[in-house]
């Protein structure tokens, strides 16, 4: 059900009726498919994408490049899982190139983020080094532009 996933990725709040009409099926079928996708953890969660600036949040966001030592048998996975568990970590990816893990973190204050890096992340056995980059401004997140597109300019009726 790739088509269903595409529609949900655009708008997870679409009603079962609307989804069914677009995909030429019934609301019951849609309900069943979504349940299955959730059960199989194909769909991990539904969340709102929030503009922190407009929400007047003063979160501190940073991206950390982390170099780690792969372990015998576990490779990168065990340590990556340990890092990913922290509440501060929003996303964690294994990367190719000059470092191993790319870790997206969020905290309430600069101190909180700095403390997490210096006290928790850097001290984990197997972590060789970290390089931290702080977010200054957001232009687009998760495929959504921050700036509102201009209002519709089309003629109301055209041939």
């Amino acid at each position: 059900m790739d088509a269903l996933l595409n529609l949900l990725e655009e708008n997870a709040l679409a009603t079962h009726e609307t989804l069914a009409a677009q995909l030429n099926t019934t609301p019951d079928e849609i309900r069943k498919h979504i349940k299955q996708l959730e059960k199989d953890r194909v769909i991990l969660a539904y969340k709102a994408i929030v503009d922190d600036e407009r929400a007047k949040r003063t979160h501190v966001k940073a991206v950390i490049e982390v170099r780690i030592t792969p372990e015998r048998e576990g490779g990168f996975d065990r340590l990556a899982h340990r890092i990913a568990q922290y509440r501060e970590v929003q996303s964690c990816f294994l990367m190719s190139g000059g470092f191993d893990l790319l870790v997206f973190i969020e905290g309430n204050t600069l101190q909180e983020v700095a403390g997490f890096i210096s006290e928790k992340l850097s001290t984990l056995p197997g972590v060789l080094s970290t390089a931290t980059h702080f977010n200054l401004k957001t232009y687009k997140q998760q495929g959504v532009l921050r700036q509102k597109p201009e209002t519709e300019q089309r003629l109301q009726i055209s041939p």
Binding site: T18, A21, Q22, N24, P149, Q156, I157, S158, P159
Partner: protein, 397 residues
């Protein structure tokens, strides 16, 4: 000193207007448009253009062209690089080959290409056959080129296809051109390869030239699109018209093209070079980018249209107005005869009572009576609001 007053009787400015122009009615869409403009909170399903903005990389190519100072004229025929890209695209997509140096002409939209084609080939009084309901400009364009417009009605029972028997019945010794538009605006009808074969055979038998407007051809939802130009013996008697507006959401760029045997393109080019000179260079650069890298954007937009079509079809079925499932383009041509209303009254009532704009079928020719055209080149969120409003309106009738 006073000049002597002329003795010629006073005339109204209207008397200066040429007779064949005076005979051309204002577009029925125009009047409706003005009423819609005066209202607020209208959801419009009356728009004949994509609701997507031109994909960013195509807009960026136009900006880059400006930055590089590409602001001059191009060859009358259009940039050779663009014509080469068009020839290659037409060859791989429609399976008919044209020489980019002599058989491709870049125009200001398909509208200009159609006008050029008609003016290049019609002698006064020549008959042009076309299927109806159809795009609003066909009949006026034929009249402006001093031809005689001969409409052939198509019916919902035939899935709005042009039937060979109907075509044959309309042919007279004065018939010179058959104008085709499949997928069709406003019905979404298509012709299969086999059905086109039958039409092509009649054209060969009666020595008709075919002008085929394939502006919606990428937006085919069922069987893959076949162009009549690709059928045996048809390339030599076909002017193939296409453009970028619908498939790549580039209506405002005003860019299209014609492909035909060299003598026909040469004739069209002679009108084009004096009337237009060339299509805007910025639009040509953008069109080149669309052909080179726009394929995936087109596929993505088509998927959106397909889903919205399904949504609207379902909505109309639910409200007891089942309609023909369009196989292409982005319009639903909904029969409203069961409501007992005329197209005009239905559209006007829906607009006034529920603030939903649709186009009365009669805007597309007399055979559109009893229908309304709903465009699904409209965001799903808008369709979701419009559908219950239409249902409420229909329920009260």
């Amino acid at each position: 000193m006073h000049l002597p007053v002329s003795t010629v009787p006073a005339t109204s400015p209207n008397d200066f207007v040429a007779e064949h122009v005076r005979g051309i009615p204002r577009s029925g869409i125009r009047d409706f448009f003005e009423i819609v403009q005066s209202m607020s909170d209208v959801i419009s399903l009356g728009i004949g253009e994509p609701d997507f903005v031109t994909p960013w990389h195509i807009r960026e190519a136009a900006i880059y062209a400006l930055e590089r100072g590409k602001t001059g004229y191009t060859s009358n025929l259009g940039l050779l690089r663009l014509r080469e890209a068009i020839a290659e695209y037409v060859s791989t997509t429609y399976h008919v080959s044209y020489d980019p140096t002599t058989e491709v002409l870049v125009t200001v939209g398909v509208s200009e290409a159609l006008d050029l084609a008609l003016r290049a080939i019609l002698n006064p009084g020549d008959e042009v056959l076309y299927h109806e309901p159809c795009y609003v400009s066909y009949s006026p364009s034929i009249a402006l080129a001093h031809g005689r417009a001969v409409a052939i009605s198509t019916r919902e029972a035939d899935e709005f296809k042009l039937r060979p028997a109907a075509l044959k019945a309309a042919i007279t010794p004065k018939s010179k051109v058959l104008l085709l538009n499949f997928p069709t605006n406003p019905t979404g009808a298509v012709l299969t390869a086999r059905e086109l074969e039958e039409i092509a055979a009649i054209c060969r038998e009666h020595n008709l030239l075919v002008i085929t407007d394939e502006i919606y051809s990428e937006l085919s939802y069922a069987e893959p699109h076949t162009s009549i130009a690709s059928l045996p013996g048809m390339r030599e008697r076909t002017i193939f018209l296409h453009g970028f507006s619908k498939a790549f959401a580039m209506t405002g760029f005003r860019i299209g093209y014609a492909c035909a045997p060299a003598p026909l393109i040469d004739a069209m080019m002679r009108i084009h070079q004096y009337g237009i000179l060339c299509a805007p260079i910025i639009s040509q650069e953008a069109a080149l980018e669309a052909l080179r890298h726009g394929h995936n954007d087109m596929l993505e937009m088509r998927e959106h249209y397909r889903k919205r079509r399904n949504f609207l079809l379902y909505a109309f079925r639910e409200m007891g107005l089942p309609c023909f499932e369009p196989r292409g383009a982005f319009y639903l041509f909904v029969g409203i005869k069961p409501t007992g209303k005329s197209s005009h009254d239905f559209a006007m009532g829906l607009l006034k009572q529920e603030q939903v704009a649709v186009v009365p079928g009669t805007a597309f020719g007399a055979s559109g009576e009893g229908y309304i055209r709903c465009s699904y080149a409209t965001a799903l969120e808008q369709l979701e609001i419009a559908a219950p409003r239409i249902a409420r309106f229909v329920g009260k009738l």
